[in-house]
Amino acid sequence: MTTLTMAQALNTALRDAITQDDDVVVFGEDVGTLGGVFRITDGLTRDFGEERCFDTPLAESGIVGFAVGMCMAGFRPVVEMQFDAFGYPAFEQVVSHVAKMRNRTAGAVQLPMVIRFPYAGGIGGVEHHSDSSEAYYAHTPGLKVVSPSTPADAYGLLRQAIEDPDPVVFMEPKALYWAKGEVQTPGQPLPFGRAAVRREGTDVTLIAYGPSVPVALKAADAAREEGWDVEVVDLRTITPFDDDTVARSVRRTGRCVVVTESHGFAGVGAEVAARVQERCFHSLAAPVLRVSGLDIPYPAPKLEHTYLPGVDRVLDAVARLQWDDEPDTRWLDSARGGAA
């Protein structure tokens, strides 16, 4: 076991994959000589050569489409979208080709590629540098969508993503790149579809992934002071979704708050809430609540702390799991009164 930042863990995973499998190639904008703006690919070109890690022209649709073609020649490309929002130019390639290729060719064309997205905010980035776009991909059949919250998971999930026969959208929470943790290297791929119970508790289940996991854990600590014993489930993979772990937890605790940094409306949090109430309805003592980023464009750095779902907002939600039909409309009603 070594102590690594998440950035280092990802770098190590890429190194181990490149070493073990000749077909793995890494490319994208500034990933070669520079080692990526977040240094996730640091030293790969130096150590493995341009053949294994190289810079491309500045065109995201091109990068993803090129990866599709390289898969057809038997490679396993790992490409980087420099920031989450800069993956949008590749949206057509991702949705109309990457996601559908296996299906439209009856399994003949496989795309074992990984698209890495540094995503979410909390690092003081100016506009377009802090989007959370996992919902777009999670809604698209044919993509696996993964987001680690610890260095160890980052390593294991990225190894699995590269080995996986299907295309994987790999969402890396920027704000956690410098968070440290113990990692076994060289280590094993971490199978998809297995949520982790990060902390056990009996009163309420917080469900989170990626950047929201540390928030949920902090909220759980704080909640203890208020007398709530909080369980925290880290999804790790959004698709495939681990209903078993989630439902088992919520059936036990009877209460649930979903925490996501992305916009709430029609986001992954909505899916989780919908699934949980479908599966655990009779165990629920309160509605499943969601705490998410606001439904506004990600704000300028000075206001991002207001945007981000922080510990207080999570605690407020936990407090509102008590226990009649009114709380959720209270705001709306008062606000409308105020606005009228």
Binding site: S61, G65, G69, A106, P240
Partner: protein, 383 residues
């Protein structure tokens, strides 16, 4: 770093040479005119070599079969046997000519309009039509045939072509990828990115634009103000050519050159073939809304098959007997196709879940079970 020089900016001979090497001929390369006569000097500045007699006879044969296949396919839409068919009648010199220049292990990236190119690759015509029949998204194995699934999202396939070409080259293979695209689709951003990637990675790709003058209803004049689409190549450092796309000999000559050049490590090449779509965009389209009958009539006089046949006859390479033979072959091809298409195979609904992922996710296992239950219930009702 040109800015470094204190030049007086008279024409730099190197730059001028480079520029000339990238630009297309100012007029499309034409070997054989509409009457079937060999055009003297039509080889253009690059001196494209005339294809072999064997290649030309085979190209002509494939065009005859391709035309018959195309007409048959349009007929099949009327009989409700195909969901839709985008005809390429009139574009046979392009579709056949381009493919004839390739080896079976070269890659082809076709669009929805390139069914004739597919059968020229000897892909089973029923497999070719699977998409358009509505049975499945693709009827053949793209990896086995080195032929991508016919592509609908315009221009997107060209980047795949660049990627596979680069990948194959890295593996030390000398295969080439040829990507088809229409005139309209050259306006898409992916066209630009594909040419640029291919150039930067020196990937062995031939970009073959079938400029059939329309993107559905939109004429070329609303699509671009370029002197011709072939002038797009220089912006990527990609040599380009324009060719009379109804002259199969010229198409073959230019594609032969481009393919060989790519195969030898020379990198990508852009070809614009001037041709014309004689039928509507698809059987569902009404072309009278946007073009005059005269225009079509005019292009009929430049028919690619008649032209090559006239030249082959003048050279004694085909005669009445051979024409009859090939016509009969085409007829048999069409009849066999029609018969096979009359069968309306059931598609197993459970196959829906087979190839979303290598292994279905738990969510899909659940949905598959739901559908299975529904189907069982339906069957019960029917019994």
């Amino acid at each position: 770093m040109t800015a470094q020089k204190e030049s007086t900016h008279t024409t730099d001979p190197h730059a001028a040479g480079l520029v000339a090497s990238l630009l297309p001929c100012p007029e499309p390369v034409q070997f054989v005119d509409a009457t079937g006569r060999r055009v003297p000097g039509g080889e253009g500045g690059r001196g494209y070599a005339q294809p072999t007699a064997e290649q030309l006879v085979e190209t002509w044969r494939r065009m005859v079969v391709g035309r018959r296949f195309d007409v048959q396919s349009t007929a099949l839409t009327k009989q409700g046997r195909l969901a839709v068919y985008p005809s390429s009648r009139g574009q046979e010199a392009c579709q056949v000519g381009a493919v004839m220049a390739l080896r079976p292990d070269d890659w082809v990236f076709p669009t929805y309009r390139d069914s004739v190119a597919l059968i020229t690759r000897d892909i089973d015509p029923v497999e070719t039509l699977t998409l358009l029949r509505g049975d499945a998204h693709c009827g053949y194995d793209p990896i086995a045939r080195h032929t991508a699934a016919q592509c609908t999202p315009l221009a997107t396939q060209l980047i795949h072509a660049a990627g596979v070409a680069h990948g194959e080259a890295r593996r030390g293979r000398d295969t080439v990828a040829l990507g088809f695209i229409g005139d309209g689709a050259t306006s898409e951003g992916d066209f630009h990115e594909a040419l640029n990637f291919a150039a930067v990675f020196n990937a062995p790709v031939v970009f073959f634009v079938q400029n059939n003058k329309y993107a559905i209803s939109v004429p070329l004049s609303k699509q671009t103000k370029a002197p011709s689409l072939a002038y797009k190549g220089i912006g990527y450092g990609v040599p380009s050519e324009q060719v009379d796309g109804n002259d199969a000999m010229a198409v073959l000559a230019v594609v032969n050159h481009a393919v060989q050049r790519a195969r030898d490590g020379g990198g990508p090449f852009l070809i614009e073939a001037h041709t014309y779509r004689l039928d509507a965009h698809t059987n569902a389209d009404d072309a009278t809304r946007y073009r005059e009958a005269d225009e079509v009539t005019d292009w009929l006089t430049r028919d690619p098959i008649a032209r090559l046949e006239a030249w082959l006859r003048s050279e004694g390479l085909v005669d009445d007997a051979r024409v009859e033979e090939v016509t009969a072959e085409a007829e048999a091809f069409a009849t066999a196709l029609r018969d096979r298409m009359n069968a309306d195979p059931q598609v197993d609904p459970m196959s829906l879940f087979d190839n979303v992922f290598a292994e279905p996710t738990p969510e899909l296992v659940e949905q598959r079970y739901m559908v299975a239950q529904e189907i069982a219930a339906e069957q019960e009702e029917q019994e």
